[in-house]
């Protein structure tokens, strides 16, 4: 065998912590409800190349002073820890809780799902909606808007089924989440 030696392979660009698989984490962040705070958070994710799967925000205190932001993100453990630390570094951030890390918690999202069709398809859509406890919130003779809520995977599944019976469009809220039990996160 005297085939020419293959050229040396270029050194591959290595990820920083190659051994770690990506994980999905839900972070609950309370912030001062001030102008620009969402921009700071979203900008942090884009500037440092972190993923956002979903992000929800609304003020949650009677005086509108504090908002809760729920972020679903994916990444290797180190990156999740970095995201946590970087969020805590922002001046208007009160607290960051990694709900996935902290223990049992509830995650819900809501979707509005528009389906159009007549005859057999229309009956099937209604039947499936019933199984998923999705409520029709708007009805015409040729369409429905269903409201469905539950875990992300349940909503995903419902939407996938609706594709087969005339899905037109979807609006989703993203995840709202909270730790189980009597204590705040």
């Amino acid at each position: 065998m005297n085939a020419p030696a293959p050229p040396p392979a270029p050194r591959p660009a290595k990820p920083l912590f190659p051994e770690e698989p990506a994980e999905r984490h839900t972070l609950s962040v309370t912030v001062d409800n001030e102008a620009g705070v969402l921009g700071r958070i979203v900008g942090l994710f884009s500037a440092r190349g972190y993923n956002i799967e979903s992000l929800t925000v609304a003020d949650v205190s009677p005086d509108h002073a504090v908002s809760r932001i729920t972020i679903v993100t994916t990444g290797p453990r180190r990156v999740i820890d970095q995201i946590h630390a970087q969020l805590e570094r922002l001046v208007p951030v009160h607290s960051v809780t990694d709900l996935t890390e902290a223990g049992p918690h509830v995650e819900r999202e809501l979707a509005l799902v528009k389906v159009a069709g007549t005859g057999e398809k229309r009956v099937e859509a209604l039947r499936l909606a019933d199984i998923f406890r999705a409520r029709p919130v708007d009805t015409t003779t040729s369409s429905f808007i269903f409201e469905v809520s539950g875990s992300t995977s349940k909503v995903d599944q419902f939407i996938a089924l609706m594709r087969e019976v005339g899905l037109v469009e979807v609006a989703r809220t993203g995840v709202a989440a909270m730790a189980r039990g009597k204590d705040p996160a």
Partner: protein, 583 residues
């Protein structure tokens, strides 16, 4: 509880003065005229008029780094604010406390693309530690006090206050706020004692320890440098530092290994590579320091002390992380060491290895003939001025690295250089800021001929305020550092790195009202330096040096500490594709 009825502009100055601000670096414009008018009517705060807003921020940084006090900047809206962005980013990367006040169009015009409107809070959101758009005069005092609190505590950094013109004009009561207890921002000062005790035990049992120190020690204040010396004395560990931390530990100490990292010494990098315990004190495992991560000190245990917990495990995994102000942590570490009666176990063999690496004399150079070696110029400069305890600033490039290597420091706050952002044009305005803080000290900007042109206009500022700064240019007629990388990575194809069409710097200096000196050959070097020092005003020295010298040692991007290039003779053509992609 009355307070006084003042305009927003007056409230700003009142608050600044209550915060101990003595000087503002600024540049006027339409959106800050009320503040300039208020400045004109008072005598407590001095204003230094720069010639470009980038210069204002670098001057404020220089002031802050030399004095330990926050620097303050005042610029107008739109172009004033955007010109300041490089300086703000520089201060963020190097953790320098500055407060930047930008004018803004009146609140009712915001969002209308008004004349000289720009989204300053949007633009500076991610290059400042924090920023504010103040919409009510009544909130202004509180914001200014809070801004200083945030800029100067925790990991310091730049804070921007965007101030619409109508808010500057409207009236409100000013009352000095009490101590700031921020709702969410609470940096941790003291480190966890259990962790500190564990660190002390680890240090006491290490045979091959090293203290890896950074700019955090300088930021923490003189006490941190003092405690570092004590800890080094107690533990007998060798000490190295990042570019930012130079001066925190005296270079004359036998325990000093020199700077580490890309252009650090052979002994510092080898010791980092082979230590059994690394104690990182106020540094952040920057890529210029670590080189290739999987080759970075593979067998050591690592302790990391930092005030910013987001620095922990960001790129390098550490075994023990201690969150807190490094000065306080060092103080506790020393106390624990003493109270437990710990004894070092540093092995003689470790110091023997270090002696072996030192014997390589990685910084050696040979000055022969009339052409000046850049290292020699710095060494002669240092020889002539060391007894004057000068403040040195730099621009960015080879001259910066040679200065770091060949101008050793004994004390903190004497070395001001743009590390994280690597901003050409930093050195002259930073020197001006340092000179404003210390009018009687010798302040020298060690510069490159390309960098100095980036903020050359600040020569006027020096003249106006009679600031006797010295600029010492190592003129190699090249963007030397760019050329060096082209030599190493692109087979010497020097694309656009020759600084052609250079001005006659002596004439240029004289046109600004400076003294200009040109040094062409080695025999003129000492006399030229002496002439520079003898002149009481600002001096520009155009020191012609060897054109093709490269700065070694060097760890190429993407290489490990143990793969250091010691001299031009070790350079081997082109890098592979993945290394080429690194900066």
């Amino acid at each position: 509880m009355s307070g006084r009825d003042l305009t927003g502009a007056e409230i700003l100055l009142e608050a600044l003065s209550d915060l101990g601000v003595e000087v503002i670096f600024g540049y006027p414009g339409g959106a800050v005229l009320p503040i300039y008018d208020a400045l004109h009517k008072q005598r407590r705060i001095r204003h230094v008029l720069v010639r470009h807003e980038q210069g204002a921020v670098h001057a404020a940084e220089g002031y802050a780094r030399a004095s330990g006090k926050p620097g303050v900047v005042l610029v107008t809206s739109g172009p004033g604010a955007t010109n300041a962005v490089t300086g703000i980013t520089d201060a963020l990367m190097d953790s320098i406390p500055v407060v930047v006040i930008t004018g803004q169009v009146a609140t009712h015009l915001i969002g209308t693309d008004a004349f000289q409107e720009c989204d300053t809070v949007g633009i500076t959101r991610h290059c400042s530690k924090h920023n504010y758009l103040v919409k009510e005069t009544a909130r202004l005092a509180e914001v200014v006090h809070e801004a200083f609190h945030i800029a100067t505590t925790g990991r310091p950094g730049p804070v921007v206050i965007d101030l619409p013109k109508d808010v500057q004009v409207a009236r409100a009561r000013y009352q000095r706020p009490g101590t700031i207890m921020h709702r969410s921002y609470r940096p941790r000062i003291k480190g966890d004692l259990a962790a500190i005790s564990a660190a002390a035990e680890m240090l006491a049992s290490a045979e091959r320890p090293i203290l890896y120190t950074g700019g955090g020690i300088i930021n923490s204040g003189p006490m941190a440098s003092q405690k570092l010396r004590e800890l080094a004395g107690l533990t007998g560990a060798p000490v190295t530092s990042t570019l930012m931390g130079l001066g925190a530990f005296p270079a004359s100490s036998p325990q000093w290994l020199g700077m580490l990292g890309m252009h650090g010494t052979y002994e510092a990098n080898m010791a980092m590579n082979q230590c059994d315990l690394m104690v990182c004190l106020g540094a952040r495992f920057d890529d210029r320091v670590t080189g290739r991560l999987d080759g970075f000190s593979p067998r050591s245990a690592k302790i990391h002390v930092d005030i910013d917990p987001s620095s922990f495990n960001k790129t390098v995994r550490v075994d023990l992380a201690i969150e807190g102000d490094v000065g306080h942590v060092l103080d506790d570490l020393v106390k624990v060491w003493k109270s437990r009666g710990l004894r070092p176990s540093v092995s003689e063999e470790w110091w023997n290895r270090i002696r072996g690496w030192r014997a390589v004399r990685c910084l050696a150079y040979e000055q022969k003939g009339p052409e000046i070696e850049p290292q020699h110029a710095i060494a002669r400069l240092r020889e002539a001025v060391a007894h004057l305890d000068p403040i040195i600033t730099t621009e960015v490039g080879q001259h910066q690295m040679w200065a770091a290597q060949h101008f050793p420091f004994e004390k903190p706050n004497r070395w001001l250089t743009s590390g994280g952002l690597g901003t050409m044009g930093y050195g002259l305005p930073a020197a001006i800021g340092a000179q404003v803080a210390f009018p009687n000290k010798l302040v020298i900007d060690i510069a490159g001929e390309a960098s100095i042109l980036m903020n050359i206009q600040e020569m006027s500022t020096a003249v106006q305020y009679r600031l006797p700064v010295k600029v010492f240019v190592l003129n190699n007629e090249y963007m030397g550092m760019v050329r060096q990388w082209q030599d190493l990575t692109y087979e010497g194809r020097h694309a656009e790195s020759y600084t052609a069409a250079l001005p006659d710097f002596v004439t240029l200096a004289e046109a600004f009202g400076w003294k200009g000196i040109r040094i062409d050959t080695e025999d003129q070097l000492d006399a030229g330096i002496a002439e520079m020092l003898a002149h009481p005003g600002p001096v520009f020295v155009d020191c012609r040096v060897k054109k093709h010298a490269n700065c070694f040692p060097m760890i190429p991007s993407g290489a490990a500490h143990s793969e250091m290039i010691l001299s031009q003779a070790d350079v081997s053509g082109e890098l592979d594709a993945s290394a080429e992609a690194l900066v």
